[in-house]
């Protein structure tokens, strides 16, 4: 019984890792940047959702608005900042690390702005769904309606993104712009605009992750930092440029963490994550679903 409970919880947290990994992969594919600011973008969107819930008393109103805000924020960050960064800081020793530094700077900036507005104390993001586990006969499993909602929301996001990428012109343009930007440009695709849409999608995916996971824990400016690390590990497992890989990587990592938590102890989970990451990078650098050799940017 414990085995199945652990598995179910792992799938629920793995779904969240998948969303975060997806957000990182979407930005990585189009800009070759690992967006460390993603955690703060997601958490800011969640704060917006929290604020709307507090005023409207309705989670279902806040959720789509938080996602919309996440998309706009992602697009703005690209438009105001990242596009500019690509033109500057091109030479010298800082050129290679400039994207990492810049996104870390953004991470700190957004988190301190959140702290200035809402303070650093823990907030409770209410949800209409019960956090109590389903009961079968006499056995209550730790998997609650909220967990089920997390898994469903992730599945919906994945289906929508998958559909867009596979069946629409926009998806084709997104794929072309990330695969061969110059040739895509020659073929008439407005690469800069398409890239901006990629940032918006990533922001939306992060916002979904923040808005569905936060009701199960607490909301603070740093509350999604660990999710960023898990999302990164999941994305690398999947190859960093594969959407399917990100999802599967997230689920595998979630289930793996859940079992480590259950059978080994909570304090080694993240160290285990580090070792998983190193081992994946050393034995299979392009990840399990990636298209090109990774490790080297």
């Amino acid at each position: 019984m414990i085995f199945i409970d652990t598995l179910l919880l792992g799938i629920s947290s793995g779904a969240i890792y998948s969303l975060m990994a997806l957000a990182l992969v979407l930005v990585w594919r189009s800009t070759r940047i690992v967006n460390f600011a993603q955690a703060s973008q997601a958490v800011l969107s969640t704060y917006i959702g929290y604020e709307i819930t507090m005023r409207s008393h309705n989670y279902w109103v806040s959720l789509p608005l938080a996602i919309l805000f996440g998309a706009i924020l992602g697009s703005l960050i690209d438009f105001l900042f990242m596009r500019y960064l690509a033109k500057r800081a091109k030479s010298g020793p800082i050129a290679e690390i400039a994207p990492v530094i810049a996104t870390l700077g953004l991470l700190g900036l957004l988190q301190s702005i959140i702290g200035l507005i809402w303070g650093n104390s823990f907030l409770q993001y209410p949800t209409p769904l019960s956090g109590k586990g389903f009961t079968f006969g006499s056995h209550t499993i730790p998997f609650s309606p909220q967990n089920l909602f997390i898994v469903l929301a992730t599945a919906i996001v994945l289906l929508v993104f998958g559909g867009i990428f596979r069946f629409t012109d926009l998806g084709l343009a997104l794929r072309a712009a990330s695969f061969q930007p110059e040739i895509a440009q020659l073929a008439g695709i407005r690469v800069a605009r398409i890239r901006n849409i990629g940032w918006a999608f990533a922001g939306a995916a992060g916002a979904v992750a923040g808005a569905v996971i936060t009701p199960t824990s607490v909301l603070s400016p740093n509350s999604l930092d660990l999710l960023l690390v898990s999302g990164f590990i999941a994305a690398v497992m999947g190859g960093l440029d594969s959407l399917v890989g990100a999802v599967i990587g997230g689920l595998v990592l979630g289930v793996g963490f859940s079992f480590i938590l259950q059978y080994v102890g909570s304090s080694v989970t993240f160290l285990a994550g580090f070792f998983i990451l190193v081992i994946v990078l050393l034995i299979r650098p392009r990840g399990f679903f990636g298209h090109q050799v990774g490790r080297h940017a």
Binding site: V34, A89, G92, P93, V100, G108, A297
Partner: protein
């Protein structure tokens, strides 16, 4: 073509004079300034470890806070558990940190850019949790690392009002200046030239007969030795080594210091270190001015740091205090 270089001995002499001047100055400042001076010295060592790694060998680390923690814990363990004198405890911390850095460096040499950044980030997140796992590491209470007052001969020389913080200032300033001297020499040796070659153009470097992987591992190892030294000094300065002394933000802080210094500019590391210490001071004064609300006090330092970081990346990639020859040498490279 190049500006005149000092010989190693001349640089050593200059640093020694600077050191004596600083130590004399310490007699005229109060306790807080002594403490902050010691803090600058610790940051200086930590920042130069990043500059050596990133500026000269082209690798990035978001996990140097974790390596500092390793050095600090090893030193504190040797000091408090085995009653080794603090000099040897620091040395032991450095040895352990160097070994850890070597192991990490072997993995790191195969990674680059964001992959390396993410991997070291995962280390920085994962490592501090170990402290709770083993009883010997003291959990949240941490380990005692109080090395006490200055040794007797300094007290006899300087008088009995020689306070502990002034003693820390002396100790750490001398160590930091020694580190700067050692790194400048190292960077001008064949090791330094190899590192620069590897970071500028790995393919050309390997064609010229440089073992790229070995050079990268070596850079990571040396950098870790310095980071663990900084960690051990940091532990002494705090008097106690706890997991909360090495949060994720510490890694970001020293990286920020290196970026503000200009990642390829060792001389700038002093600017980076001073700015890192000045930011809390400055934002403290500013938040008092703004009415001292709790939200402002807690978040202003982070805001200032992030804004500085973004400003430097966008507008001053050569650091806050640019090396004058920078532009010229860049043209030469192209």
């Amino acid at each position: 073509m190049r500006k005149r270089r000092f010989t190693s001995l001349q640089r050593g002499g200059l640093l020694l004079i600077l050191g004596i001047l600083l130590l004399v100055t310490s007699n005229f400042v109060d306790e807080l300034r002594s403490y902050q001076g010691a803090q600058v010295a610790v940051y200086l060592v930590a920042i130069s470890s990043i500059i050596l790694l990133t500026g000269y060998s082209g690798q990035i680390s978001l996990g140097h806070g974790a390596i500092m923690a390793i050095g600090s814990y090893a030193a504190a363990l040797a000091f408090s558990l085995w009653n080794i004198s603090f000099e040897f405890a620091i040395l032991f911390g450095m040895v352990v940190g160097t070994i850890a850095g070597f192991i990490l460096g072997v993995a790191a040499a195969r990674l680059s850019g964001p992959y390396l950044a993410g991997t070291t980030l995962a280390l920085a997140v994962g490592l501090p949790t170990i402290a709770d796992q083993f009883k010997v590491l003291g959990g949240e209470q941490g380990l005692n690392f109080d090395i006490g007052d200055a040794p007797g001969w300094i007290k006899r020389f300087e008088g009995s009002d020689f306070t502990q913080y002034r003693w820390f200032f002396w100790l750490m300033t001398l160590v930091a200046l020694g580190v700067v001297w050692a790194i400048t020499n190292l960077l001008q040796s064949s090791f330094g030239r190899n590192w620069r070659a590897v970071s500028n153009n790995p393919v050309a470097a390997s064609l010229a007969g440089i073992n790229v992987a070995r050079a990268k591992v070596l850079a990571f190892t040396v950098s870790s030795a310095l980071a663990s030294l900084a960690g051990a000094l940091f532990g002494i300065l705090l008097g106690i080594v706890t997991p909360s002394a090495f949060p994720l933000t510490l890694s970001f802080t020293i990286l920020t210091g290196a970026v503000l210094a200009g990642v390829g500019n060792l001389a700038g590391s002093i600017v980076g270190a001073v700015v890192l210490v000045a930011i809390p001071e400055f934002s403290g004064a500013l938040s008092t001015h703004l009415g001292n609300s709790q939200k402002v006090t807690a978040n202003l330092p982070g805001l200032v740091t992030s804004l500085l970081l973004i400003f430097v990346v966008l507008f001053r990639p050569e650091g806050l205090w640019p090396k004058k020859v920078w532009k010229r040498s860049r043209q030469l490279n192209n």
